[in-house]
Point group: C2
Chain length 416, copies 2
């Protein structure tokens, strides 16, 4: 007897047959006495089809008009799902973001949610209806449609759940949860029953792309229990079984602390490393280097600066592989001469491997165990970066899988 | 320097290339100093695709959800057209019906427009923007999306033009105007430069399906000069030429009266005739027969009742061919015994031919010339129905083309 929000991704909504399965699953939860709000994505392929049309018309389409266009995919989805529920005897009603309304700022194509009015939704839930709300979109103060950007439906679902003070937000997707690492790299990888919000943030940003990172932030801010689970199971599987499947992003660290120190091994194959050598070690130098890179809209991840020797230092940072050439050009053209650097070198074939876990806060020696494991495999560490709940190293890309497998085993992640 | 509304049908919006051509045409009008509002349909095929998805999900989809679904087609169109205009340097902004807002009643899938707020549109026009508004749809008092039914974009365009007191509403379509009759039947058929609102109503309802009939009614109620013209011409053709092309539905009868008495020959191949024989001639009998037919949602067109003989009469009416079997079943099952009719007969192979023209109001002898022409061709007239500006006859379908050609010639319609 709880209020629960379901979110279904584009694959789950990919055909009318699949939409009927979603309806069966929702009806099962409703039959059990729960109040259900559903936030579906557009049918898979639809958003790309629409953006493809825009691209045929204009190289740089106006963001306001792009949002007007792209939001139609989710609007069609909610109507189809309402019909599918009605066809199996459920009362259901669909709303576009502007109808709720879900108010956002005016940053078209990447808007941020400001407020959600729950009056209509509560009225319908109290009347016994399933309420279906478009993901990915809202409306600004001018009455223009806005979208939240790619993967925004996850954020919509968590935000709606928070606004309604739902008991849980269930994110149905095509994977069955969050794993200790990618099962394609380590076959012993194990599904996590729970993961903390902070770990999930580190796992998501490090490449375990199960949930859009903004939705995890939202879940964290509102302490909304959010479960990632599979929509590919039998829609009529017993509710007791389904309601504990997948991975729960939890906010109760206490239970967690007694478990393993390390939660998972994340990795990102797609890194490059750039080093500015022989930089005069004076105040403002980091800004002069990274400011120019940021101005070119290049995302920088790890950053280290060496101890200065004779008034000179080296400055190293990583950027995604797609931005490598652009970053090198910026440095050579705009930065090198200005700051009087000796030279600029780079390596486009590096990868990042991270161990993540809130448990490491209270356990010493995680870093040394990580470095020993890599050393025993003969893997050289090029850069190190640490936070409270993760340690990341940059290594030659050819050792990435080996490093992930070795660390997964060294920290005992294959055992439940 | 006038405010002009353009409406483009689904074929004109059928691909991104065609949308670019629409943008060129609109820009040409805007360049000439006019304020332009555009009402485009969904891309051709899109509405059918969406309704097909609905049908896969439910035999009888909820009308509210159908409107939520179907309205997305036009929303995508307006955004794409705005992008196409921006890509060639025009300022443009798109609005869905609910954003204007275009207020309607709550008759989902066949809503009627109640009011149109012109504030936003005027503000944008005054700022030099082309304003693009979704056809086919509006919003009711509950904030639900409604649609006006098939062909509703014509009605939207005329209604928007009326609300803005536009100088003219241009309906761009895949024909280049209204003809004296169907050129596929009579090769000498001639395009009409003007046609009155009442003639257009008769032409439309009689089968010259160029414009949705509700849009013609709207044009009539608001005396909105409306021009039907082709979108298949060169989008950059000289404005002076384009602005007098097609057919203007006018409201100035005086100029018209001096022209030909007959404007055109309309026809409908798709008729059937049903006769209830030996009906007791007492009050209420027509209602007992037609009420049952209307209750079954069957549209009745021509109706005649013969002079009563010995207290008995015959009652004849026409229904569309697709409804013939249903109508016969209703009469045999529910009506015949109740009213004590002798028998019910029908003919499923008849057609209707009509001469139409406001000129006939002031000219006698139109009917006799029509009947003489048909008689000279040996065509038997089965039913006759007249109004102030048209005379319709029902004939054997095999003579339909012959009748249309003979009448077109007899009334001299091939000469300008």
């Amino acid at each position: 007897m709880a209020l629960i929000v379901h979110k279904y991704g584009g694959t789950s909504m990919g055909s009318t047959e699949r939409i009927k399965n979603v309806a069966k699953r929702v009806a099962k939860w409703h039959d059990a006495g729960h109040q259900i709000v559903v936030v579906p994505s557009a049918m898979s392929g639809e958003t790309n089809r629409l953006l493809g049309l825009a691209k045929e018309i204009s190289e740089q389409p106006d963001p306001r008009e792009l949002d007007m266009l792209a939001s139609t995919g989710e609007q069609a989805s909610v109507a189809l799902l309402a019909m599918a529920l009605q066809a199996i005897g459920k009362q259901a009603v669909s709303y576009a973001g502007w109808q709720v309304p879900i108010k956002t700022d005016s940053s078209y194509t990447k808007a941020r949610i400001r407020s959600i009015d729950d009056a209509k939704v509560r009225r319908d839930l109290d009347a016994g209806k399933v309420v279906i709300i478009t993901g990915f979109q809202g409306v600004n103060d001018d009455g223009d449609i806005t979208t939240l950007g790619r993967g925004g439906s996850d954020t919509s679902a968590v935000a709606v759940a928070a606004a309604l003070k739902a008991a849980e937000c269930l994110i149905y997707t095509d994977v069955d949860g969050v794993y200790t690492t990618d099962p394609r790299v380590v076959s012993e990888a194990r599904r996590l029953k729970t993961v903390t919000f902070e770990e999930m943030l580190e796992m998501a940003s490090l490449g375990s792309k199960v949930l859009q990172i903004r939705s995890v932030e939202f879940a964290g801010n509102y302490k909304m229990p959010t479960r990632v689970l599979s929509s590919l199971t039998d829609p009529l599987m017993p509710l007791e079984e389904e309601s504990v499947s997948g991975t729960l992003i939890s906010f109760e660290e206490d239970t967690k602390m007694e478990q393993a120190t390390i939660t998972g091994i994340a990795f990102n194959r797609d890194e490059t490393k750039i080093t500015v050598l022989g930089v005069p070690d004076r105040p403002g130098i980091a800004y002069q280097i990274l400011g120019a890179v940021a101005d070119a809209n290049i995302e920088v991840d790890m950053i280290i600066q060496n101890q200065s020797v004779d008034g000179k230092t080296d400055f190293t940072f990583t950027v995604p592989r797609g931005e490598y050439t652009k970053a090198m050009d910026v440095l050579n053209d705009k930065v090198k001469a200005n700051i009087g650097a000796a030279s600029i070198t780079g390596d486009a074939k590096v990868s990042k491997v991270s161990v993540v876990g809130v448990g490491m806060r209270s356990h010493v020696g995680i870093a040394s165990q990580m470095f020993r494991t890599l050393s025993e495999e003969g893997i050289n560490i090029q850069m190190i970066s640490t936070s409270e709940i993760k340690i990341s190293v940059l290594i030659d890309e050819k050792y990435m899988e080996l490093a992930v497998r070795a660390l997964h085993k060294a920290f005992g992640l294959e055992n439940a």
